[in-house]
Amino acid sequence: MNENLLIQLSAINLFLPLIGFIILIFFGKRISRSHLVEISTIFLGLLASIVVVHQKLSYYEIKDLVYEFQWIDFGKVPFLGKLGINLGIQVDNVSAIMMLTVYIVSFVVHLFSIKYMEGDPRYSRYFAYLGLFTFSMLGIVLTHNFLMMYIFWELVGLSSYLLIGFWFEKQSAADAAKKAFIVNRIGDIGFFLGILILFAHYHTFTFSEIFSQISQGNLPFNSGSVLTLVGILIFCGAIGKSAQFPLHVWLPDAMEGPTPVSALIHAATMVAAGVYLVARIFVMLTSDALLFIASIGAITAFISATIAITQTDIKRILAYSTVSQLGYMIMSLGVGAYFFAFLHLITHAFFKAGLFLGSGSVIHAMHHEQDIRFMGGLRKKLPITYYTFIIFTLAISGIPLTSGFLSKDGILGGTLAFAQLTGYWFFPVIGFFVAMLTAFYMFRLVILTFHGEPRDYQKFEHAHESPTTMLIPLISLALLSIFIFFSPNPLNIETGWFYKWIQTPHTIVPKEMAFPFMIQSEISSAHKIIHSKVYTEIVHHAHSTAMIISLIMAGLGILLALIIYQWRIISADKLALKLSLLYKFSLNKWYFDELYSKTFVAFTIGLSKVLAWFDLKIIDGIVNGVAGVTRWFSASSGLFDNKVIDGAVNLTASFTGFFGLIFRKLQTGKVQTYLVMVLTGIIILFFIIKSI
């Protein structure tokens, strides 16, 4: 397959879900089995993206395939010269694999939704929104410039708003949708500013052009600190979308949407966008920006993991685990472990989608009960859900033989190597601690949900295994969570195809602004492989150390969960009493919502009230004053009209009428009268002529 065909196929892939969306949004109500429309487009896209990935990786291993066209030509702009905006798509290894992942997750979510959403009054619209969501995410993945990235970024925000608030009759769902949208906007302001700074200096939105300018030493506004600033500003967008501290508050609330939507948001379509964005701009991040990013990631991972421990809503636990794992990815990008961040993005997409669909299956079986305190013993009732759920849990906990182990280990190894090279030991310590917490809360979830005795017999009795269309997605995602899809060696990713094709790009910022180990070494300049030999060795060494420590930590976490919840050697309630302060702190999510509502929200509302007062009194006063003057003027003008103008008109009319009345009498119809008049006329004429 030649390059053009490949690009065209990718472009078709981009627009396939949009076609489904358009058909369903306009004709959805008239199509009886409306889900088939959207599912068939997604399935076609899935097949096509498999082809694209295969062809791309087999024949264009290193080459980036780009198609671009000029969208707007401003011509010659004063002071700037020629100016235009190019749009286009870029298919490189990263975007091709990401596209496939989006399609896989989207497809299983569609499949799962058929039965889960059955009987919903807005069934077809639900699938339409799913299509829009998929389309927007694919746009982010395939774009080759910041402008399109931003447009699709906002489209993702919009479609998440529509889906989180899908059951908008519920006040909480409507609120959650608004929260997600507004919190995302805050991050997007930074993203937009970053893009504008870049455009103001380079007059282009295209990634490759900006990057090549930077690598030639042309920094934005000739200042390294502006480059750092741009990196952090663009990262702000990722903070919002990928729910990083301090904007992570929207993601747990987003659980108000239907569960398959949560799977889509958490796995491949929305929160992944932030990580993907950072990966895209990775090469232009300075060491300061990277440190900032890594710190945000580490803080996020820690905070959300501690919150997840005490939550009781099955979806909220998973939501906080997502935030925590995203923190991992961001931290990993910050410490330069680009490859492992991307790997974790992909593996996490599969097992987190699986976890959410599994929880959807549980919720479906329990008739929309989400509180794990009322579950228990479901292992017997939902065997397939249980076994797949176990696989996902092992994967997220980083147990060998799963995909999660490969990526998580790599991230931990990356932080360890980073600490050895730069001395920031904060990152690996947080990383390992969060690994333990992850294992703990995930096993707590599994044990409370599936093991032990049922705590709500009535619901337990009615529980039943989900239908086949809901189980197939679970089984396929469980398969994808096994190591073999990423590497033949379960302990070492470096032998796998993934490692071969996703290569960490070298940094392009000036040498004095980058971490030394990220700068391209002279030896391997032909390829993108960058790391100096020393760094490779340190990473390799750190990797083995990290593997051992992380296994111990994960084992510790699992053991703790088993002791407390399975064997009940230590009572959870007593523990909560003893550590009541910490327990409450965690249960209330570090009081972030309260803090925000007391500060930012209260401030905004206060400001709005002041502005409303201003509006009501001052602006409305002016408007009302103007209105009063106008009314007075109109009234007087109306008076003039009524009396003077109409009076004149009426006077003319009555004058004419009066004379009409008089002269009417002359027209008698009698010949003799007329003759008298003729005679009179003649006599008058006679006298007139005579007088002349």
Binding site: T668, G669, K670, V671, Q672, L675, V676, L679
Partner: protein
């Protein structure tokens, strides 16, 4: 005192006035026609008188002859019209005949 032009003209004026009076005041259409005959004849007297006392040759007499012929024709046609009007309106009172169409 010999009879001169002024006598004729005076006679003609008296005749004309009586004709006009008849035309304007009579209600009966026949009487109105008779008034018209008087007017025509007063004109005839004028013509003949001016022909006799002026230097116009016989032109006046000839015009008077024409007027007599015209008056005869007029009388015939007018009487026919009056007959038709009588058939139509069942009256010859000109006061009541004030409609141009039915």
């Amino acid at each position: 005192m010999s009879v001169g032009l002024y006598h004729f003209i005076t006679l003609s004026a008296i005749l004309f006035s009586m004709g006009i009076f008849a035309v304007l005041t009579r209600k009966n259409a026949i009487q109105v026609l008779m008034g018209i005959e008087l007017i025509l004849n007063s004109a005839n007297i004028n013509f003949v008188a001016f022909a006799r006392y002026g230097n116009f040759g016989y032109n006046g007499q000839i015009v008077a002859l024409f007027v007599i012929i015209l008056a005869a024709a007029e009388a015939a046609i007018a009487l026919a019209i009056v007959l038709n009007i009588y058939k139509h309106f069942n009256t010859v009172n000109v006061d009541e005949i004030d409609r141009l169409k039915e």
